[in-house]
Symmetry: C2
Subunit: 101 residues, 2 copies
């Protein structure tokens, strides 16, 4: 089982994760991504879904047109773990890439 990060380790990890912040009142991290349109937002979600499924670690997320609001936590561990940090990093990488040539 993956271990829950201490408050200090979580804060340290968040410093390396642009755009992410703690969730008030809950041991979780959140970021809202904004894209150009629904095509781009859902394209992002699709790429993230493949990563999530492969690593068997899934986000809580809400999509309204061109925005995707994400919350990450590891339920089994009762807090934020390295698995959340890795998924958050993957999301930042995917969101930072614009497709096409």
């Amino acid at each position: 089982m993956v271990e829950r990060l201490s408050d200090e380790a979580r804060s340290r990890a968040l410093k390396e994760l642009p755009g992410w912040s703690p969730v008030a009142g809950r041991e979780a991290i959140t970021r809202t991504f904004t894209f150009r349109d629904f095509n781009e937002a859902f394209g992002f979600m699709t790429r993230v879904a493949l990563v999530a499924e492969k690593s068997d670690h899934h986000p809580e997320w809400r999509n309204v047109y061109r925005t995707v609001e994400v919350v990450l936590a590891t339920h089994d561990a009762g807090g934020v773990t390295e698995r959340d940090i890795r998924l958050a990093e993957a999301m930042n990488t995917i969101a930072g890439q614009r497709g096409g040539i």
Copy 2:
């Protein structure tokens, strides 16, 4: 522009939409779909996304593992319109289909 349905027309439409109900305090309709796993939930979302994009009418939705919570309203019309009813019907149809042979 598509016209907002009256309260009566909305109630009548909801009777034909298994699983859907009004949102409290807001002119919108909602349904939570539950699937076997994330694969099936996100497969549903992907099929719905194509329908939504084609008709240029998009849901507000939240996915947590195998559940998808949907809210539909037509922002321009300030309420529920025929476009929401059609999208809700399409979602019910897609959710009712299980892939494979």
